[in-house]
Amino acid sequence: MNINLTINGTSHSHDVEPRLLLIHYLREVVGLTGPHVGCETSLCGACTIELNGKAVKSCTMFAVQANGARIVTIEGLAANGKLHAMQEAFWNEHGAQCGFCTPGMIMASKQILDRNPRPTDEEIRHGLAGNLCRCTGYQHIVNAVRAAAKAGA
């Protein structure tokens, strides 16, 4: 099947197998390395991307379902050589350790602030419930989201 979509501001058109998962399309066909496969079952959130403005898990969607969509991945967040405020906050607050969950975690964090620019810690924590991190205990991630909110991300 032929699909046309926009990824990080660039148009892509490919002929894909109907069963090709979106995460594999992004990684294997388009050549991205940011979205990661952590569980294949949408439980860990390492594959989180933004699809038409919403954070979604790309490991349990077919590429063909994204036909016509506008996708933003971690690679598309920085603009004009400047990190997105959420990326900057994750760096400043030590929100990443091994880094494997980080791209998905940043995309989910961005969504939290897109929906609610001034979340409480409780709201931040519940907003991250779909993303697992085994390294940080989440505290520095919560700090990062809070710092990004303060910076007006």
Partner: protein, 776 residues
């Protein structure tokens, strides 16, 4: 031309953000799965659905004929590959031969039976389903105590008792201590099987360059050099023809401190098909086949005087080993024995360990590796003793701590605790929670029928593995520091960090020692073709051993810089600081850049000095380090649901000097999260047939952001005398101090109901039954 900038301020001890982060926060880091090569093939492994079975036959014809498949290999094909190694040695240890693919029998669910190799990853998976294995299912045993019972199925038919080893250790005279005691308390305490669950599963890419006789193997591992040595042996390949590369590693926690069948299998496949091959473990495979942690059933006895003085400790450990020994499997419970006295002065211990085979995936090192079990046991026992004697749990600990003037302190188990002020973190933590007031509040809340708990745990841990005679594979670490002709600095560390931030902390050390800007320093690791032989990152050793190696390499380099500087300045009276050598008489200077250039140009050499500016150190630590601390947890238990909520979590950790507080905080938080996970939710559950019931993230409960309390982390600082950095290690402290603090808190909450002990995980169901008066 680039210049080396000098820098007056020091960086060690500063809260600076990490240098490895830009690639992580932009999604440009390279994990194994990100490696692509022309002609890449994909491997899918066929695994046993049974915990114990004979393999009658394997039919690979259909799979081999499937679209895109280039090869299918079974155990018969790989018989020439050496066994998966066990690096631990114990007297009379029974070591089952561990083939990389099962030959005539399978021993656990997930046991690899065949591998399908195809040009397309989806078609490889399809074809794996076409491999037909005829199994004769046998009875299995998945519980270590059941495996010890008479008539239990034999995991390995040659050893019908299922016992892999017995280990005994005495210190002092426990029998005499027990005879002199006013009170002896006993308790059975378990530390359940846990699944490490690094967010990146394991993965391997292997590439055979036949013309060069060169195997390049990329693996998500904590130990690239040890892996190379052992894989070369398994594959029958000269070690210098094997290059192991550890790209970005998405978490390890001990689970990648190993040598796995799949690593050798991918090397074998690449050499057979003469093409690059990739295998990425699925999460389901990760749960079934990557090592698990813990798996203890402990029987404790503690003998004491009526005033709370601990006279001795007796311990029997039944260790669930699983079906095989992985790299360190049998050694892990012996670490529990070493640390069984905790922070206490008692010189009388007796310990027995029985290592038991079960039809489960092997257990091995998981964050803390033997020390969380020991700490959990002794800290639970001290609370049980305090309750028996009607003493305050803080008071009984303070009464039994090793005293400051007793360091270096020889323990009942033969260790030498390096330095400590064990009362300091406990007193600090008690101050933070305002302990006396808190107990009054608890008394009030109990009058209203509320279940509020205050849990204290203190811990000591053994870190910085370690002196080589006490470790299976060498306990030193290596570092090379080289300065280019242009004055830029590269640090090559044999430690292989994977999230611990050593690209930053080691750069801080180098920046301070050389007096140059941190941006002039690059830290490299994890490639056996680039980095000198090293041991790796585990056991909270990265900074204490690897960082110290960097420090000593820098001292050698500084001496050489001074020599060259003195020659260029024409003076013997020089000093080196701020990135330049200064003549103390004239004040004239030579920059590091000028000196570096001169060492390579080598127009003139100082006496007995080689050209170039590079130094390598292999640093052997004289002792382990022993971090310690106190955690206090305040919990509220809901009567109607059994739900536990953590109101406050206070951690006071003493890890010696702190090189970067931001990174240390992160290590504490992550460690505590894994401790809380064990205390409250996590458990690998096998049914009686050896089927893993918690085989997915849906069933195995990991802590999520909203399930974690805010962690109030602070420190006391007692430098270690073992290394010049004065550091002790912080990677595992949070996990070790955590689980007993949480359990002590919940037992304290339920103590008005007569509850004396609760085994982990303390699920709401278990707590609800206890509140209602049922058995836990």
């Amino acid at each position: 031309m680039a210049t080396t900038t000098t820098k007056p301020e020091t960086l060690v001890g500063k809260r600076i953000r990490r240098r490895e982060d830009p690639r992580l926060i932009t999604g440009s880091a390279t994990y194994v799965e990100d490696i692509k090569m022309p002609g890449m093939h994909y491997a899918v492994i066929v695994r046993s659905p049974h915990a114990a079975a004979k393999i009658r036959s394997i039919d690979t014809k259909k799979a081999a004929a499937a679209k895109s498949v280039v090869a299918v290999f079974t155990g018969k094909d790989t018989e020439g590959v050496g066994p998966v190694p066990c690096g631990a040695s114990l007297p009379d240890l029974r070591v089952p031969h561990h083939h990389i693919l099962a030959t005539d029998r399978v021993y656990f669910v997930g046991h690899p039976v065949a591998v399908v190799v195809a040009t397309d990853r989806y078609l490889a998976r399809d074809a794996a389903d076409l491999v037909e294995v005829d199994y004769q299912v046998l009875p299995a045993v998945a519980d270590p105590e059941k495996a010890l019972a008479k008539g239990a199925p034999a995991v390995h038919p040659e050893w019908p008792d299922n016992i892999a080893f017995n280990f005994h250790q005495d210190g002092g005279d426990y029998a005499k201590a027990a005879a002199e005691a006013d009170v002896v308390v006993k308790q059975r305490i378990t530390s359940q099987r846990l699944i490490p669950t690094a967010m990146e599963t394991r993965g391997v890419v292997a590439e055979w360059r036949a013309a060069d006789r060169q195997l390049n193997l990329y693996s998500s591992t904590q130990i690239p050099h040890l892996l190379r040595t052992l894989l070369a042996m398994m594959l029958g390949l000269e070690e210098n023809r094997l290059r192991v590369v550890t790209p970005e590693v998405g978490g390890g926690f001990g689970s990648k401190l190993n040598v796995y069948a799949e690593e050798a299998l991918m090397g074998f496949v690449a050499m057979k098909i003469n093409k690059p091959v990739k295998w990425i473990e699925t999460r389901r495979e990760n749960f079934l086949t990557t090592i698990h942690g813990r798996g203890h059933v402990d029987y404790y006895e503690i003998a004491a005087k009526n005033d709370g003085t601990i006279l001795g400790i007796k311990l029997k450990i039944i260790q669930d080993l699983g079906a095989y020994h992985q790299l360190l499997t049998p050694a892990i419970p012996t670490l529990s024995v070493l640390m069984m006295p905790g922070l206490y002065r008692t010189k009388n211990i007796t310990a027995d360990v029985v290592g038991v085979f079960t039809n489960c995936v092997p257990t091995d090192a998981y964050r803390g590796a033997g020390r969380p079990e020991a700490t959990h046991g002794i800290e639970r026992m001290v609370d049980i003793l305090a309750a028996k004697l009607n003493m305050d749990p803080a008071e009984i600990r303070l009464k039994n701590f090793v005293l400051n003037e007793e360091f270096p302190f020889p323990t009942a188990t033969g260790l030498i605790y390096d330095s400590g002020d064990y009362a300091a973190p406990l007193k600090k933590a008690l101050g933070i929670v305002d302990y006396r007031k808190l107990r009054m509040e608890q008394a009030e809340s109990r009058k209203q029928g509320k279940l509020m708990g205050i849990g204290i745990a203190t811990y000591g841990e053994i870190c910085a593995f370690g002196p080589s005679p006490a470790t299976p594979a060498g306990g030193w670490e290596s570092a090379t520091v080289k300065i280019d002709p242009s004055g830029k600095v590269t640090v090559l560390t044999g430690a292989s960090p994977h999230g611990q931030g050593e690209e930053t902390t080691f750069a801080q050390i180098a920046a301070d020692e050389l007096g140059v800007d941190i941006d002039d320093i690059l830290v490299l690791h994890g490639d056996t073709a680039i980095v000198q032989y090293g041991i790796g990152t585990f056991g909270s050793r990265g900074t204490a051993v690897g960082g110290t190696a960097v420090y000593f390499a820098l001292q050698d380099l500084k001496a050489k810089i001074k020599k060259y500087g003195a020659m260029l300045l024409g003076s013997d009276d020089v000093s080196f600081s701020g990135g330049q050598v200064t003549c103390n008489k004239t004040g004239s200077t030579k920059s590091l850049q000028e000196i570096a250039g001169a060492t390579y140009r080598a127009m003139q050499l100082p006496p007995n000095t080689e050209p170039g500016l590079q130094a390598t150190t292999f640093w052997e630590p004289p002792n382990f380090t022993f971090p310690f601390g106190a955690h206090i947890v305040i919990t509220d238990v809901e009567r109607d649901t059994g739900a536990i909520s953590i109101r406050r979590y206070v951690a006071v950790d003493d890890c010696g000097n702190i090189l970067n507080p931001l990174i240390v905080d992160g290590q504490v938080h992550g460690g505590v999260a894994q401790g809380i996970g064990q205390a409250l939710w996590e458990q690998a559950v096998y049914d009686d047939n050896g089927q893993l019931l918690t085989g997915e993230l849906t069933d195995y409960v990991l802590p999520k952001a909203h399930m974690m309390p805010w962690i109030e982390s602070s420190h006391t600082i007692t430098p270690s005398p073992v290394n010049p950095l004065g550091v002790k290690g912080i990677g595992e402290a949070g996990t070790i101090g955590c689980s007993p603090a949480v359990v002590n808190s919940v037992v304290d909450a339920l103590s008005p109901l007569g509850v004396q002990h609760i085994d982990m995980p303390m699920t709401p169901e278990k707590i609800w039954k206890l509140v209602k008066g049922g058995a836990a």
